[in-house]
Amino acid sequence: MRYEITVKVNGEDYEAYIPARRTLLDFLRDDLGLRGTKKGCDEGDCGSCVVLLDGTPVNSCMVLAVEVNGREVTTIEGLAKGDELHLVQRAFVEQGAIQCGYCTPGMVLAGKALLDVNPHPTTTEIKEAISGHLCRCTGYGAIVEAIQAAAESMDGGQRASGKTGRSD
């Protein structure tokens, strides 16, 4: 069984005629060629495939492509504006939060989604926000620090005092 869907991905409209069983992950990677979204387990356990669905992080391997009909998806390819990295991306680069980089797209999107709803997260809140994501390289330390640094740099843009996010 195939279905017609219309979906906005990274601000662009796509129409597709796809099998009912196609996951959002395979749709993004194989049909749209957006292979920045990674396949780590295909079972919802590792977070490598996280994308934002209407702004909320989801494991795209656990969502069927037909379910996103009429909705909006943001993948890692849609985060930077041209050459200008998103603040979370920049913080990941600067804080050394990247090793092999396979978890990075999902982690960055999780960080962005967190800061969108909670601009001043505690380290506990950051760890909870990325607890669905596995990273086998970094031990998470630099990733948590990067998200914290991104929050602080967003803060810096808004507040002159330099007062930054809460600690625990």
């Binding site: 780590g40 890692i76 990295l85 990941f92 680069v93 050394g96 090793q99 596995l134």
Partner: protein, 801 residues
Amino acid sequence: MAGFNIIGKGVPLIDAREKVTGKLEYGTDMVLPGMLHGKVLRSPLPHARVLSIDVSKALRLSGVRAIATAADAPTAPFTVPGQTLDDELLFARDKVRFIGDEVAAVAAADLDTAEEAISLIEVEYEPLPGVFDPEDALKEGAPLVHEEHGSNIANRQKFGRGDFDAALARADVVYEGRFVTSLVHQGYLEPHGVVASWDSSGRVTLYLPIQTPVMVRMSYARALGISEDRIRVIQYPLGGGFGGKQECKIHPICALLAKKTEKPVRMANTRRDEFIASLPRLPMIINMKIAGSSDGTLLGKSIRIIADNGAYTNYAPAIMYSALMRHDNLYRIPNLLAEGLLVYTNKIPTGPFRGFGNTQAHFAFESAIDMFAAKIGMDPAELRLKNARQKGDVTPHGWKLGSCGLSECIQEAMNDAGWKEKRGNAGTGRKRHGIGIACCLHVSGNRAVMPAFDGSSSYIRINQAGKALVFTSETDLGQGARTTFAQIAAERIGLRVEDVNVALVDTDTSPHGWGTWGDRATTLGGNAVLAAAEDARRQLVEIAAAKLEANPQDIVGENGRLYVAGAPNRSIMIAEAAKAFSYSKSGAILTGQGSYVPDDIVSVPDPVNKYGNVSVAYPFAAQVAEVEVDLDTGEVNILRLTAVHDLGRIINPKGARGQVIGAVAQGIGFAMTEEMKTENGKVLNASFKRYDVLRAPDMPEMSVGFVETVDPNGPYGAKGLGEPALNPTAPAIANAIYDAVGIRFHELPITPEKVLAALRRKGRRTQQPRHCRAPRGQPLHREIPPQQHPLQAGRPQPHRL
């Protein structure tokens, strides 16, 4: 770092931007036009005769292009380079030997069709009794995994130094213990993958996320029955490796399917494939005996290992060798005895995982050292300091320690963790507090498994725009080797890091090198890059000296510019010099070539007595774990972990710190949560849902410190760090638990169930466990910034004891 522009700076990874934007194409992202999709049929039985394989139904399925079985594959068995036990075939021929054994493979127009075709292949099996425990496998009458071997012993090693029996006779105190390590998976996030494509001249190109492009070409050539030259390996970025990406049977199988279909074929493991049919860590049963005097002098040590090879032999003989003796070089122990049996079982074959046997042995050894200290009533940290190896030592195995910061690591870890105040202070409540220490040493630039040559080679091309491209065969698996090489090249030539790129390995164009294992990348690869950079620099300086009318020895390079020392305005851009070179030679590109040949420092160990200096350098470390044990639930909470590492010289502090914390996370998993549980050969938890890799909230507070010993053989004095950082973590935690509750845990992982059962045996509590989960760390994350570290600058500090 004084005197350096780029070495010692925490520059971002050179590929960080590609990674953070999702633009980096990994091995499993690779596509070729018109490619087919392959899938493997794996054995559902642990041990059975294959009576027949009927592929006719599968072949009739629309979209199926080819099916391969043992009938299509060479009949000569093969193994990995440097090993001698040829027991692998591309497909099981007459027998399957583990659940997951490759029986057939399908190439189809799409993956769905390939999967359906797999389900249509009819295989008739005659089940055979299996053997699943290595000690059972040694018993008389046990089922034989490979009948042709006549027993289940795949490899046997026995060697010694001094006279262990005499040491035993002289000893005041002897500790003996049996330790068991579990089957754990590397858990790299990107599963194995491959795209294979043949050209019209009869050569196959394999696009691989692989640690060892040159070495796999050797084994895959044997597997496919073709010459090495007919295989070109193009390395793709790896989504993690940790030793697990040195070999994968789907790579040559994919080549076979591509040959049969005359089309490019792509294959990738599912996560389940990874857990049932990759090469997880070699599990070991280790008997460890320590003999010494009551004053803490260590006289002798013996080790007996029974290692569970699984159904086929990968690098396990070399892994067992490393487990039998590497730790002997940590302390001054003169009399040593080692015996190892590598045993076949009807289980998943095993292979390298960060630490390469040293991790398993360190758990046993460093636990045993602690118990010896307890027996003589000595502080276990003092015992280690008393016996610690020192710079300049030649160990009983012939290892030459050109640098050694072990004592400094122990001291610093003790100070940072507050050892003296916290040790032996368990408290009295429901939660008992404990602190434990463990040390390690490792190799850096090991070559004991590759007899052909030592060292490494590199070349560097500098184009007319002054941009350098470094070629090496030591790979980046995500640890940042490309960035390390870029820093070394930029420092030596006088370029900016952003002007240096490092090519991924292509066996057609890269130097011939063994790839990344044995902590080779920084020491061997780094030295090769340094030599190539020196050669490029020499050529640039000649041009600059002529243009600037100065002596070549007065030319200094910095920031993309060459200038006369003391007269910075007399300068020329490197781009200008490289362009002048090129234009004077009809468009040739300035190329520096360098080889690092370790000059009688390294030798393959003697095949019988295993004596020899196997590595150019040896990194050391000490880690201290602080735990809280809940007497009611058996839960162990790791409060804090201090890791102090002697890494020679820091090339990149951010990278170094990331290596340590990441390795500790794997070490905590090894100690507390990770285990591939098997029953009659079947992996019961073949998913990340049921195989507990640490997650962000599980990490303890970390304190990371470095001791810079500046090794005489390392590039700028640097030694490897990636592997050793994992080795001391599990024994440090086990020793801390001992300090808290007085119970020695001999088996990994140390789960709440095991802790509670042991507490009950000890008669402290009788309650049921309330919940069993991974240890939870404290949320606060902290470390000592390397630049503030008291031992950062210059030579290690002397003992303060």
